[in-house]
């Protein structure tokens, strides 16, 4: 892991993305609770270290297929807050111009970002295919994607990892084990303590990482990414965290014990990283506050932009079904 140490600037950049993600989430959640949103909305609170730490381990030419709780990854790949918030409000200026809901379908191949669909985990084999295209063309690139603990119960988890092993594909699969699939706790999903155990059944490495520690997440991902790039094949990484809000905005998550949330709130990934940065003497509270302020301004700008943006023209509804 020491091979992939981060500079001060890199760490502050990571902090910025994590903070931006959290600020966006705080403001968007409030916005929806005020009844100003359109349709549903997923909070990614608690997932900042995973989405940013993994995304940061990629090179620009690598391709990533993030999920509904991976806002940090979208943002650091270059999807702008304006496009994101526009999409949340169904505006013509959104990532997909109002065709798909919330973060669904927020792909942009010019950013090497693949859009996801609801049907979990259908994006996982698609990411495998992206990785296989790199083998096909002999390109030193890597594909990465994500899967929730709940979605590992689906057969595609198995089909994809097995084929990734058979084709020695440069694929990194991040399991975001946030303890719940909607209302269903881990114990009702599986009878094993660690999902990473399953990697052995495919003959590939399986790692476990503390998902709220961004430096650890970065290091383990970076190692897997570079191994894949060098022809070493796929890796499974299980990042343990906690979903800190309901499944989606309408869900109060009364089924989650409050103590569990309190326990994980003490491991808040953004605060944890702030403490690490301060302890490492790399920054001071003033600089952190300044970054935080910058994030607030950017999110506010995105909201203002989105609110003023036009809705799509209904006359366009039948356009774009097919590529011409």
């Amino acid at each position: 892991m020491s091979n992939y140490s981060l500079t001060r600037d890199q760490k502050l950049e990571i902090y910025y993305w994590m903070r931006l993600t959290r600020t966006f989430d705080d403001i968007a959640v409030a916005y929806w609770k005020q009844g100003r949103g359109v349709g549903g909305m997923f909070s990614e609170r608690g997932h900042e270290a995973i989405s940013v730490g993994t995304g940061y381990a990629l090179a620009p030419e690598d391709v990533v297929a993030p999920l509904h709780r991976d806002l940090g990854c979208y943002l650091l790949r270059g999807l702008t807050l304006r496009r994101v918030f526009s999409n949340l409000l169904g505006r013509a200026t959104g990532t997909n111009a109002g065709r798909d809901a919330n973060m669904h379908g927020s792909g942009d191949m010019s950013l090497n970002l693949v859009g996801f669909i609801s049907h979990l985990p259908q994006t996982v084999p698609v990411a495998l295919g992206v990785a296989m295209s790199f083998v096909y063309r002999n390109e030193p690139r890597v594909a990465m994607t994500y899967i929730g603990d709940g979605s590992t119960s689906a057969g595609l988890f198995h089909e994809t990892l097995n084929m990734a092993a058979v084709f020695n594909a440069p694929l990194v699969l991040i399991v975001e084990n946030n303890q719940y699939a909607y209302s269903t706790p881990l114990v009702q999903q599986m009878k094993i303590p660690d999902i990473a155990t399953r990697a052995a059944g495919y003959g590939i490495p399986g790692n476990i990482v503390e998902g709220n520690d961004v430096e650890a997440v970065y290091a383990v991902t970076k190692e897997a990414v570079e191994r894949a790039r060098a022809g070493g094949g796929p890796t499974l990484i299980e990042a343990k965290t906690m979903r800190m809000m309901g499944h989606a905005i309408h869900d109060g998550a009364e089924y989650v014990p409050r103590e569990l949330l309190a326990e994980w709130e003490r491991k808040n990934p953004v605060i944890l990283f702030e403490q690490q940065l301060l302890a490492q003497g790399l920054t001071d509270q003033e600089e952190l506050d300044e970054i935080k302020h910058r994030c607030e301004i950017e999110v506010t700008d995105a909201i203002e932009y989105a609110e003023k943006a036009p809705l799509p023209d209904p006359a366009t509804v039948e356009q774009g079904v097919y590529a011409e």
Partner: protein, 344 residues
């Protein structure tokens, strides 16, 4: 369909006290399930997030774990293909699983097991598969391409299944009871847009609406609208507006999509000679195409006008309100098409 037993008197005391018995569409579904589980120990529910204190994405099974215990309220891992297969195995042993798809959209995940195994089993080797899949369908709720679908045509095309689609609270109850008691795999499409906004009288206790019988929701002489699910309400609204303009519309609610009530379809088509078919599902090779084909074959000589169809567009279901509104049939669009047809 198996013999219908008497009312065992298990209706909820609160609801018996309410002599008007006005229930929402979703409460009627919940009541039917609860009463049938009280009546028949072989009936149980399975699905994602349906158990515990949560009671499902739409709370249809809220309180069921308390009343029936974990053995009869199976909270499943996210593996639709596998658990529909498991339901088939349980059904082969004489149990009567009622499976909740979290959204009808996800039924494609379990497709193989439904259309290949469950649907063909009785024909192939005579073993019955008496399960029900409840599929919360339809849109208009700004939920985007994956929480708004109406996939019934895939299943009506497939031999060996039965398919129902209630439009009222009473039918929601009566068709669910019929579906559970039927010895075949039945897909029960419930309409999300009706869940809490559609209220109506629901008979207490044992109330069964037989599978295969359409309902003449309104009689009229000028034109027939043949429809089902959430579009029945749109059609009735449209009929009111058309009445003002002296267009007298008949509305046939199909209720069952497989087997279709061909007699009812032909009767209304022959009566008015003008037919508009409406459904939320996309029009192309939809159930409405079959209805049009049946009429153009068997009621040809009675027709006074082309058969028109109104359905969803041949696009995924868009999220943004102006796009979804453009995509989706509604009362205003029905009025428009009906007027043109009446004037033909």
């Amino acid at each position: 369909m198996s013999q219908l037993p008497n009312n065992f008197g298990f209706a909820d005391p609160e609801q018996i006290a309410d002599t008007t018995r006005e229930l929402t569409y979703i409460a009627a579904i919940s009541e039917a399930l609860r009463e049938e589980m009280r009546r028949d120990p072989n009936v149980f529910v399975m699905g994602e997030d349906i158990g515990g204190t949560f009671g499902g994405a739409f709370k249809v099974t809220k309180g069921f774990t308390d009343e029936f215990g974990e053995k009869r309220v199976l909270n499943m891992p996210m593996a639709e293909l596998g658990f529909v297969g498991a339901a088939t195995g349980m059904a082969l042993m004489g149990l009567r699983p009622v499976i909740e798809m979290q959204f009808a959209d996800f039924i494609s995940t379990a497709f193989d097991s439904i259309v290949q195994f469950a649907a063909t089993n009785h024909y192939r080797w005579g073993a019955a598969v008496p399960w029900v899949i409840r599929a919360p369908s339809d849109g208009g709720l700004r939920s985007g391409p994956f929480h708004s679908q109406n996939p019934e045509a895939w299943f009506v095309h497939t031999p060996g299944l039965k398919v129902v689609a209630p439009a009222t609270p009473a039918d929601a109850k009566g068709l669910l009871l019929a579906a559970i008691r039927d010895d075949n795999p039945v897909i029960y499409f419930e309409s999300k847009p009706l869940y809490r906004s559609e209220k109506g009288y629901v008979p207490p206790g044992d109330y069964v609406v037989p599978i295969g019988q359409a309902n003449l929701a309104r009689t009229g002489n000028d034109l027939s609208i043949i429809t089902y699910g959430a579009q029945v309400r749109e059609a009735l609204t449209a009929a009111e507006q058309l009445a003002v303009e002296d267009i007298d519309v008949e509305v046939l609610d199909l209720r069952t999509l497989k087997p279709l009530d061909t007699e009812a379809i032909l009767t209304t088509a022959r009566k008015t000679g003008k037919v508009l078919i409406v459904h939320s599902a996309n029009r192309l090779v939809g159930v409405g195409a079959e209805v049009a084909a049946i009429i153009s074959d068997q009621a040809f000589e009675w027709l006074d006008a082309p058969i028109r169809r109104l359905g969803g567009l041949d696009t995924p279901i868009p999220f943004s309100p102006p796009l979804e509104d453009a995509y989706r049939p509604n009362a205003a669009k029905i009025v428009q098409m009906a007027k043109e047809l009446a004037a033909f």
